[in-house]
């Protein structure tokens, strides 16, 4: 049963991932990533990570992807030519990626970790992966990391507003703002 679930999830996740890379319209790529994330959340469940799986669906596939969709819709479906200006990357990219995959696989399978080949610790503590367990860890052992992460999000939010804020809609990329156009009373 677990095997079936795993392969189902794995095929979905890999299919989604390949679709992200191969589909030419960015809008479809975003949707493919959502599919990929949902399947991956299923695999997370197999690893007894309920909370992460839920967060993945709600935050990632839900919230973050919505931003992607908005942006993809905003900038429009710019389809790029499949054969671009530097074909050497087209050839080298997948080869290098494949080499990386093979190497990591050799490293993982060939390493002498004794626990490999098993499912891991036979009996995990009850409550492993529940929101309670993760919350406890996060607010007790990893409090500083938690606070740093919240600060990071705040900074990112400010940065996004600064970057994408409506300032000089009409001026071109190299045009400078004429003096006086951003007076004190002007809305930013």
């Amino acid at each position: 049963m677990v095997e079936v679930a795993f392969f189902f999830g794995a095929i979905g996740a890999i299919g989604g991932a390949l679709a992200v890379v191969l589909l030419r319209n960015p809008f479809y790529s975003v949707l493919a990533l959502v599919v990929h994330l949902v399947f991956l959340a299923g695999i997370f469940l197999l690893l007894l990570s309920q909370f992460i799986a839920a967060a993945q669906i709600v935050v990632y596939a839900g919230a973050v992807m919505v931003i992607y969709v908005f942006v993809a819709a905003y900038v429009g479906g710019i389809e790029e030519p499949m054969f671009d200006s530097s074909p050497k990357l087209r050839i080298f990219g997948p080869i290098i990626a494949a080499a990386l995959f093979i190497e990591i696989s050799i490293a993982v399978l060939g390493s002498s970790l004794t626990a490999l080949g098993t499912e891991g610790v036979a009996k995990v503590e009850s409550g492993f992966g529940t929101p309670e367990a993760v919350g406890r860890l996060m607010l007790e052992d990893f409090l500083i990391a938690f606070e740093a992460a919240s600060l990071l999000l705040l900074v990112a939010a400010v940065a996004a507003i600064v970057l994408a804020g409506r300032k000089d809609e009409t001026t071109g990329p190299s045009a400078t703002v004429p003096a006086g156009s951003t007076g004190p009373g002007e809305p930013g």
Binding site: A99, E103, I104, I106
Partner: protein, 670 residues
């Protein structure tokens, strides 16, 4: 609170004062800066007293506290704590330093009144006191080096305080360079101590030293002590590192009074007393200290008899008196040495203050040939000068009498070849009487000179054109120099307070250590020196009094002789000068100390510097740098081609790198 906590507070106040005054420069009125400075040092003094009280509350054998704030560095078995060590010796030094410093701060508050750099002065002065206290309270040799170097810097800053005056900056540099030589000695000593003993804290070092150095005069122990002495001699202006002290008189008079008489220059004496367990394992080094002290005391005495610059006379007398202290700690009379350190701080600071008062009245002229009749012009200053001179020459009953003769007694008591120190000490005492009363008899009596007459008539001091008396340079009064409206002499309240308290102490300060009666200092310092066989030796009370009687006779005879020379037969000094003109030339040129150092060290170093500049710099360094530039340029040219600006190109390179590294590890793991 235990003594260590009070010790930290002692350190804290001057540091805060220095930082505060330095940061509020031009934001608070000068008077406030001066008051803050005084308050900081006074607070440190009070904390010092509290530390002593809390120390005295302990039983004698546990009367030392080591405390550490945090670990400063911990590397390879070496653990350096930012720690202090409070015991009777350091507490004693804290009291002397903070006590005399607070009086001198009060004096400076008035003395520097019309100076444009008032804030700077007090900030430096507080920083100096902090450094000196750090040096005294340091709990290990590393922190001692830190305090030692800080003190050297503070001294440099204060000597060069009037930094538009070329002579002052030169003197500052000279003092700094010579002090750095001493610092190097001290650093090497600390390194050697760590190499031999593996520890660096005072307590651990002194405990371990007897186990490691089992025979007396083991060469490493002697080397350590000699290196310590290099530092001590440089800081305390002993031969052959003495030349900086006289030039240091370019600084303001309170600086001379505080640093170059009462506190900093005695640091070397403190160091030897502090490291006495090491010196007792290396008696040869201790003998070196005593011999150098004796030579310095005699040479400096002869120079003090002939120079005519008022402050320099006192400076040479300081060197001479510190020579006594080195004799004392060298032969094992630790408490006598520390006692002389204390009384010397009193009367020498007093003499400098009184001299400053006279110099202010003379519009910064320091030549005693020009001074006459100040007894009438400034009776208070005259009285203080006389008290200072009496104490310095060891007149019976004054503080100097008790302290100096205690050292000489001990030398006589140890007997053998140590008798030399007693004989030399008496010769030095005779010279002391001559040079100290030479000042008195030349500037106080007689018809008032121009400036003194002006003071008597108008009640104001002369407003001279600010000119450096030594070189004739015109002073720049914008950045800090008493300007034309500088008209304070002894009338100013702060100067009077500072002088009268010190005058009182110089007169009666010796009463704490009357042989057989009080002996407060000896008892107070006993716990520090309890492990020392030398400190246990004492001349009997009868012998001590016999020595005091001899000292009294020499002092009185010396003063009478001086009176005869300058008042009774004023023609005699001139005749003497002509008869013994080669000797006079030798003395007036300070035994050619500067010239010898110039010939032996400065000229070769300068020659080497020229060689380095003309040849080494041009070919070796230049070739090296140009070669490096060429290599970097060609290498970066090669790399620049990779910087295509193509984001994906970078990503590809990164991927290739990752793959290659992974491959390497996989192959290595086979």
């Amino acid at each position: 609170m235990n003594a260590a906590s009070w010790g930290w507070l002692v350190l804290l106040f001057p540091l805060l004062g220095s930082i505060f005054i330095g940061l509020t420069f031009r934001r608070i009125p000068p008077k406030a800066a001066g008051l803050v400075g005084i308050a900081a040092i006074a607070a440190a003094f009070i904390c010092g007293i509290a530390a002593v009280i809390s120390l005295q509350g302990e039983p004698a054998e546990s009367r030392h506290v080591a405390d550490s704030l945090w670990t400063y560095a911990s590397v390879g078995g070496l653990s350096i704590d930012l720690g202090i060590y409070v015991d009777p010796l350091s507490a004693f030094m804290v009291l002397v330093v903070t006590g005399v410093s607070s009086l001198i701060h009060i004096y400076s508050y008035s003395y520097m009144k019309s100076d444009a750099g008032y804030h700077r002065f007090f900030s430096y002065l507080n920083f100096f006191v902090f450094s000196m206290l750090l040096l005294v309270l340091a709990g290990n040799f590393v922190l001692l080096v830190v305090g030692w170097a800080f003190v050297g810097f503070a001294s440099y800053a204060l000597i060069s305080y009037w930094y538009r005056r070329e002579a002052a900056t030169r003197a500052g540099m000279k003092a700094f360079v010579i002090n750095v030589v001493g610092d190097i000695g001290l650093v090497l000593a600390a390194i050697l101590i760590f190499r031999e003993l593996g520890v660096i804290d005072y307590g651990a070092v002194f405990e371990k030293a007897p186990e490691v150095f089992t025979t007396t005069n083991e060469w490493t122990a002697v080397a350590i002590c000699l290196l310590l002495l290099v530092g001590a001699f440089a800081k305390s202006a002993q031969m052959p590192f003495h030349t900086w002290l006289a030039d240091a008189m370019e600084g303001p008079t309170p600086v001379s009074s505080l640093i170059h008489a009462a506190t900093m220059v005695t640091a070397g004496v403190y160091l030897v007393a502090r490291a006495h367990p090491l010196f007792e394992l290396a008696p040869a080094a201790a003998d070196v200290a005593a011999i150098v002290g004796l030579v310095t005391l005699l040479v400096a005495g002869t120079i003090a008899i002939v120079v005519t610059d008022l402050k320099r006379i006192i400076a040479y007398s300081t060197m001479s008196q510190i020579g006594y202290m080195f004799v004392a700690v060298g032969i094992g009379a630790y408490s006598a040495g520390m006692f002389h350190l204390m009384t010397h701080a009193f009367f020498k600071a007093l003499l400098f203050m009184a001299a400053g008062s006279v110099i202010a009245a003379m519009a910064n002229i320091q030549n005693i040939d020009r001074m006459k009749g100040f007894y009438k012009a400034m009776p208070f200053t005259a009285a203080m000068l006389i008290i200072g001179a009496l104490a310095l020459s060891g007149f019976p009953g004054t503080s100097g009498w008790f302290s100096k003769d205690e050292i000489i007694d001990f030398a006589a008591f140890r007997g053998g070849w140590y008798e030399i120190f007693a004989i030399g000490g008496y010769i030095g005492a005779f010279m002391t009487a001559i040079y100290s009363f030479r000042i008195i008899f030349r500037i106080l009596p007689g018809p008032p000179c121009e400036e003194a007459a002006h003071l008597i008539e108008t009640g104001h001091v002369v407003h001279g054109e600010p000119v450096n008396p030594a070189t004739g340079e015109k002073e720049d009064i914008e950045v800090g120099y008493p300007g034309e409206d500088h008209h304070i002499a002894e009338q100013a309240m702060g100067m009077k307070i500072g002088m009268s308290v010190l005058g009182f102490l110089a007169l009666v300060g010796g009463l704490v250590q009357i042989p057989g009666v009080t002996e407060v200092i000896t008892h107070f310092l006993e716990p520090t020196f309890e492990d020392s066989p030398l400190a246990a030796m004492h001349p009997t009370v009868a012998e001590a009094w016999k020595g005091l009687a001899k000292g009294a006779v020499i002092s009185v005879v010396g003063i009478a002789f001086t009176w005869w020379l300058y008042i009774g037969r004023p023609s005699v000094p001139e005749t003497l000068r002509r008869t013994f003109s080669p000797i006079y030339t030798l003395f007036i040129n300070k035994w050619y100390g500067d010239e010898i150092i110039d010939f032996l060290i400065v000229k070769p170093v300068k020659g080497f510097g020229r060689f380095a500049n003309n040849w080494f710099e041009r070919y070796a360094i230049g070739g090296l740098t140009n070669g490096t530039i060429a290599i970097v340029r060609s290498a970066s040219g090669a790399v620049r081609d990779l910087q295509t600006g193509m984001l994906r190109g970078y990503a590809l390179l990164m991927a290739v790198g990752t793959v290659a590294i992974l491959l390497y590890f996989l192959i290595r793991g086979l």
